[in-house]
């Protein structure tokens, strides 16, 4: 296990270790959360609203978990944990810390990464990835707005090839930047910079307020 909170982590872990984060989030002037109203109802125990919210976020949650762990059963297990956590902790959800979807995806990604890094599967996966060129996995969600998918693809296309490679391996592949450096046979400092520059460009491309 790489993290002290691996596996048994709760919703609070995602933001919990960061005191003063409310101020930080408030400074970013995020646009209104499209899932905010639904989440407010879920926070009051509305199961119908939760079913609706589930259907909105489950494809991203499952998709990112699957992208990292590859195994569909494990991805489903992770998605189930995260979605149930979303229900359980909804009354404590604080919108000033970010959007509902970002919360769920962050949780799913972190848990997926914890699983693969704590298992032999992680090492096997690394070996396999080393022999495959990194590509962005295809999306298959009918529910997903094709526009979203296109927007992500365009944003990734706006990166330099080396930035894209580093971002895809780190985020979609769930690798540490040190692992990415080994896989690409580059100095760690170079990869750190590529990930950072790539993410800044993606943020701007996708219209997220810095």
């Amino acid at each position: 296990m790489l993290r002290a909170d691996a596996g048994g982590g709760t919703a609070g872990d995602v933001w919990g270790s960061v005191p003063g984060r409310r101020d930080a989030a408030a400074g970013t002037a995020l646009a209104a959360d499209p899932d905010g109203a639904l989440m407010a109802r879920v926070a009051r125990g509305d199961q119908g609203a939760f079913a609706e919210l589930h259907d909105r976020v489950a494809p991203s949650v499952y998709g990112i978990a699957r992208s990292v762990v590859r195994d569909p059963d494990l991805a489903e297990e992770i998605a189930q944990e995260v979605l149930l956590e979303l229900w359980r902790t909804a009354p404590r959800f604080d919108a000033s810390r970010g959007r509902v979807r970002a919360w769920a995806v962050t949780m799913a990604h972190r848990r997926a990464v914890d699983r693969v890094r704590s298992e032999q599967a992680g090492r096997d996966r690394e070996a396999r990835v080393a022999t495959e060129p990194p590509t962005m996995p295809e999306s298959s969600a009918e529910v997903l707005d094709a526009l979203d998918r296109e927007r992500v693809r365009r944003a990734l296309d706006a990166l330099t090839a080396v930035q894209r490679e580093a971002v895809v391996l780190a985020y979609f592949g769930g690798h540490t930047y040190q692992e990415v450096a080994r896989l690409l046979d580059c100095p760690e400092g170079t990869i750190k910079t590529r990930i950072r520059d790539g993410l800044i460009r993606l943020r701007d491309q996708l219209g997220v307020d810095p």
Binding site: P91, V105, A170
Partner: protein
């Protein structure tokens, strides 16, 4: 001086790690150090929020229809999974932005007090809370009932100055009993709240006011087919059927 430069360089290095952190791409060795830095660095925290939102949008690029079994198991589990009580911060934030659907409405009495607003007043007044619970737990219970979408308020009145409000949520099966101006009963006596339905009175809970005549307790309550609520004085511990006069009462109209 050189120490300071080293420290500066160290901080610059750490700033560079926000992106990798947002991608969960730091290894164990760096994680703890970075989180410590993050706790004290507002610039990094601000940047992190934007990076996480970006990552969430990227995840939409690999969104995939999950197996149907996921939905079945999650929604099935929700049915038997209790939610955590709201943190006070979250409840306040929600009240500030929502304010809908929480207004109390029970026709007949039409006590048009928004339960949410009432909760604020209670907190402001710093009323003494049920002693057997820790203060924070009690506050959270109060918040949860007061902000429930189906919260309704019933005001019980009698001949005197005393008033008791019962704010209840059918979905939670809980109520807050808030009273003031209550005479403090003798040591071996207590107040008891009753619901009254077609078959007669049913005991709800017993409570004693504080020295200043105020009370605020959270109790289980199922209004069921109740047509009225009443309060009597009873021997300590309460009675299965009322033995005292009804001191305060309210009719309920469905």
């Amino acid at each position: 001086m050189s120490d300071r430069r080293d420290e500066q360089r160290h901080d610059d290095d750490l700033h560079l790690l926000v992106a990798a952190y947002a991608f969960d791409a730091l290894d164990e060795a760096e994680l703890a150090g970075f989180e410590t830095h993050l706790a004290g660095c507002e610039a990094c925290r601000v940047e992190l929020v934007g990076f996480r939102e970006t990552a969430a949008l990227l995840a939409a690029g690999v969104a995939e229809t999950p197996p149907a079994s996921l939905r079945t198991s999650v929604l099935g589990a929700v049915d038997v999974t209790r939610q955590e009580p709201p943190s006070l911060d979250a409840a306040r934030a929600r009240r500030a932005t929502a304010g809908d659907g929480t207004a109390a409405r029970r026709s007949g009495l039409r006590v048009a007090v928004a339960a949410a607003v009432l909760a604020v007043a209670l907190l402001a007044a710093g009323l003494v809370l049920a002693r057997q619970r820790s203060e924070i737990d009690a506050l959270q219970e109060v918040e949860q009932v007061a902000t429930a979408p189906d919260a309704t308020t019933v005001e019980l009145a009698g001949d005197g100055e005393a008033t008791v409000r019962v704010i209840s949520s059918g979905s939670l099966g809980q109520a807050i009993v808030v009273g003031e101006g209550l005479a403090v009963p003798a040591g071996d006596r207590t107040y008891q709240l009753w619901t009254i339905d077609a078959e007669g009175p049913r005991p709800v809970d017993v409570f004693r006011p504080d020295e200043d005549g105020t009370v605020e307790v959270v109790t289980s309550l199922d209004l069921g087919g109740a047509v009225a609520m009443g309060i009597t004085e009873e021997p300590a511990g309460g009675s299965p059927q009322p033995t005292g006069d009804i001191l305060l009462a309210a009719e309920l109209t469905a």
